[in-house]
């Protein structure tokens, strides 16, 4: 059985980007969570790029909430990248995920903010 989704990791300075392409549901959400947790150790900023994610339901939303909460307790930040016209944005908005994580249109935006923060560390 082919993987329902693939995850590519990319490190940009102090930003780690995880690109999830494909679908997330109850059949693979635990595997996705384990792979993300294994990589999310070193950087300050974490980006989950959902541009290539074609299906996301409450199983995936639960995963993103849990991840966001855990990083927040470690004073790290989780950013989600979701194109404004992507269908999954509707699902994320329904779940009010913006209360826990930040939503952006693309990765460059987050990277710029992270770079600015590094040049001028917050008090």
């Amino acid at each position: 059985v082919p993987d329902l989704c693939s995850i590519d990791f990319e490190s940009r300075g102090n930003v780690l980007v995880a690109r999830i392409s494909g679908e997330i549901d109850i059949s693979n959400v635990d595997a996705v969570a384990a792979r993300l947790a294994a990589m999310f150790e070193r950087a300050d900023h974490y980006v989950v790029d959902l541009s290539g994610t074609t299906h996301l339901d409450s199983a995936g939303i639960h995963l993103l909430f849990t991840l966001g909460e855990r990083l927040r307790t470690r004073r790290q930040t989780l950013h989600l990248v979701v194109p404004s016209d992507a269908p999954i944005r509707r699902v994320l908005r329904l779940a009010d995920i913006g209360a826990v994580v930040s939503l952006s249109d693309d990765v460059d935006d987050i990277e710029a903010r992270a770079a600015a923060e590094r040049a001028d560390p917050a008090p």
Binding site: I26, H55, L64, V91
Partner: protein, 649 residues
């Protein structure tokens, strides 16, 4: 009761043995009770020894000088089989005598070595009571010893055979042969034992034949018969035993009986061992095959399939036939059928490897031609000697197009709803592993929901003495009259083409894409997380073919996933039941129900972290959602109004 039976058998066989006495009343060249005692201990356990001791005492009392001597002789007669049984147990003797080792152990350990004990004890007892003079001690010992040993060699195999649980039926042909060969044994005995001495050993080839054809269960009774006949001839001074001294008769008789018993038992064991090895190898290869093929072609609700795998008869080693159904990305499906050249465990193992290699390349989304190309290249790089014909096709349910490539395999057959059929004749390259540098090509074929695709291996169509074209025509004829149901179709084809004669392995795979274009949808899947992606694929194809936009399709699929996930997570206990998905579409209104027959263990509560938010998501994405829990089972009804072209006429 067992003890009484053993006592009776021992005593009875002793009486028979004494009838064969050559010297005096008690020294006989064949002493069956030792065989009875040995088998009794082997089968019933050594605890049976008191029965042997009592019976031996009863037998020896009337023929011994006094009671004490009888006690001593009985002790020796009990000790010998006891020691033999212990030694056989230590060595790991198998009562079926199916290995050469067992035959050797029976001959040398149980018969020749252990029976020294009874011969020594018995002879010394007679000598001490002056029943036998010192000068005759050696002679008495040797007759005693050979008598006991022959009792084991001649009688024990027959008794072991009778007590063995393994019971194979005699084939009709064997039964006739058995009657013929039995008559021949009687005739040969008559000639050998009533004629001159030189003809005595002419009986050996007949015994050899019996051992070869019928193994231990033929050889053991024949040996017993021949030995008893020879002993009787010696007692009655017939044929070769006419006008000879007692010693001469004994020597000839014992050497003859020993030759008969040794050669029969050993040859029969050698044949059994070889047969068992061949059978064993066949079993290994077959279970290897089955373990690879029995995997459920899981999670492909888009395609209905039926498969038949029939291994060749036991005399022929199984081959390397295989088939495979591979779920690919985006709902496409791969179908494979192949046949590794050669037979036996090696071919079955190569088949397992090739099947996995092909599967791996197919899952990397290579086209059929490219997949075969890579498998062929890998065989070349590994310097593998494996060679296989293979057919790999990839079916896209969305476009209803099959793309396929054949590496020297028999052509697939496409059957329409009325049974009309045609071969997909194209061959796209030589068998895998045949030519290192080959460019495989591929073809395409439209395949709608009414069509059936039949894949098979050579065992189905090749038959000795018949031209292959005639057999392929026979296949087409069988298919055109076959029932429409996939299982019934496979059974009809196998029954028509093979009529019972399986010369080579047969693999047959029938595949039919399930039509998802109609106004209704029906899915029944096990309530497991792993079935959700496939269910979504089917519903996606159904919605797309009914003209739903991608945004509408997305919303409905998320809502479906929520309802489906709830059924998977909450409806059933450890044993999963079914999730039922039904859909109707008409005038732009799509109704989908997701039902289960379990009792939700807990109603999912809406919490902040997203768990239990499924119901809220459903309500937001669909126009109407109703959840009914009445009795066992929960039904979620969802409605969505779409901007699809009207389906009414």
């Amino acid at each position: 009761v067992q003890l009484l039976v053993v006592v009776a058998c021992y005593y009875g066989s002793a009486e028979l043995g004494l009838r064969l006495a050559v010297v005096g009343k008690s020294v006989t060249p064949l002493w069956p009770p030792t065989g009875v005692a040995l088998v009794a201990m082997l089968v019933l356990g050594r605890r049976i020894w008191p029965a042997i001791a009592v019976a031996a005492f009863a037998v020896n009392l009337p023929i011994s000088p006094n009671a004490l001597t009888a006690v001593v002789i009985a002790t020796g007669n009990t000790l010998a089989p006891l020691v033999a049984t212990t030694l056989l147990g230590r060595i790991g003797f198998d009562r079926s005598l199916a290995r050469v080792k067992d035959a050797f152990v029976l001959v040398f350990v149980a018969a020749l070595a252990s029976m020294c004990i009874s011969a020594t004890v018995g002879s010394l007892a007679l000598w001490l009571t002056d029943a036998v003079s010192g000068s005759k001690l050696a002679g008495s010992w040797s007759v005693w010893w050979t008598g006991d040993a022959m009792g084991v060699l001649v009688v024990a195999p027959v008794l072991l055979l009778i007590t063995a649980e393994r019971d194979r039926a005699w084939p009709e042909r064997s039964r006739l042969e058995l009657v013929a060969v039995s008559a021949l044994v009687v005739a040969a005995c008559a000639v050998a034992l009533l004629g001159e001495q030189q003809t005595m050993f002419s009986i050996l080839p007949v015994l050899g034949w019996i051992a070869w054809r019928f193994e231990q269960r033929g050889a053991a009774p024949a040996t017993l018969f021949v030995s008893v006949a020879a002993t009787l001839a010696a007692v009655w001074e017939l044929g070769p035993f006419t006008d000879a001294s007692v010693v001469h008769r004994m020597v000839v008789l014992q050497s003859f009986n020993a030759t008969v018993a040794f050669s029969s038992i050993l040859l029969a064991s050698a044949v059994s061992q070889r047969e068992n090895f061949v059978e064993h190898e066949h079993d290994i290869a077959e279970s290897l095959q089955r373990s690879l093929l029995s995997e459920r072609s899981a999670e492909c609700p888009e395609v209905a399939s039926a498969a038949r795998y029939i291994p060749a008869r036991a005399e022929v080693a199984v081959g390397g036939d295989w088939y495979d159904v591979i779920p690919l990305h985006d709902g496409r499906l791969g179908f494979v059928v192949g046949d590794v050249a050669g037979h036996g465990v090696g071919a079955a193992a190569e088949m397992g490897q090739l099947r996995m290699v092909l599967r791996a390349y197919a899952l990397e989304d290579h086209s059929p031609a490219e997949t075969l190309q890579r498998v062929n290249g890998l065989l070349r790089d590994l310097h593998s000697n494996a060679m296989a014909t293979a057919w790999y096709g990839c079916y896209d349910p969305a476009s209803q197009v099959l793309t396929f490539s054949s590496a020297g395999h028999f052509p697939a057959l496409v059957v329409d709803a009325d049974g009309h059929n045609e071969f997909l004749d194209e061959i796209h390259g030589p068998p895998l592993g045949a030519i290192a540098t080959t460019q495989y090509t591929e073809s395409t074929q439209a395949l709608d929901g009414a069509a059936t695709l039949l894949l098979y291996t050579d065992g189905l169509v090749e038959k000795r003495g018949e031209p292959i074209d005639a057999r392929l025509d026979a296949l087409r004829a069988a298919v055109s009259t076959a029932p429409r149901g996939l299982d019934a179709m496979c059974d009809h084809i196998v029954a028509t083409l093979l009529d019972g004669a399986i010369e080579d392995d047969v693999a047959l795979l029938a595949l039919r894409p399930i039509a998802v274009g109609g106004p209704t949808l029906r899915l029944r899947e096990p309530a497991l997380p792993t079935t959700l992606p496939a269910a979504r694929r089917v519903v996606r194809a159904w919605l797309t073919q009914n003209g739903c936009s991608s945004d509408e399709t997305f919303d409905i699929l998320v809502a479906l996933s929520e309802a489906y996930s709830n059924a998977v997570q909450h409806a059933y206990g450890v044993t999963p039941g079914l999730v039922e998905v039904d859909g109707t579409i008409g005038d732009g209104v799509i109704d989908i129900t997701v039902s289960d027959h379990g009792t939700w263990r807990s109603r999912p509560a809406v919490r902040r972290d997203g768990a239990g938010k499924g119901i809220r998501v459903m309500r937001s994405l669909m126009d109407d959602v109703a959840i009914e829990s009445n009795g066992p089972g929960t039904t979620v009804r969802m409605r969505r109004v779409c901007k699809v072209p009207s389906t009414s006429a």
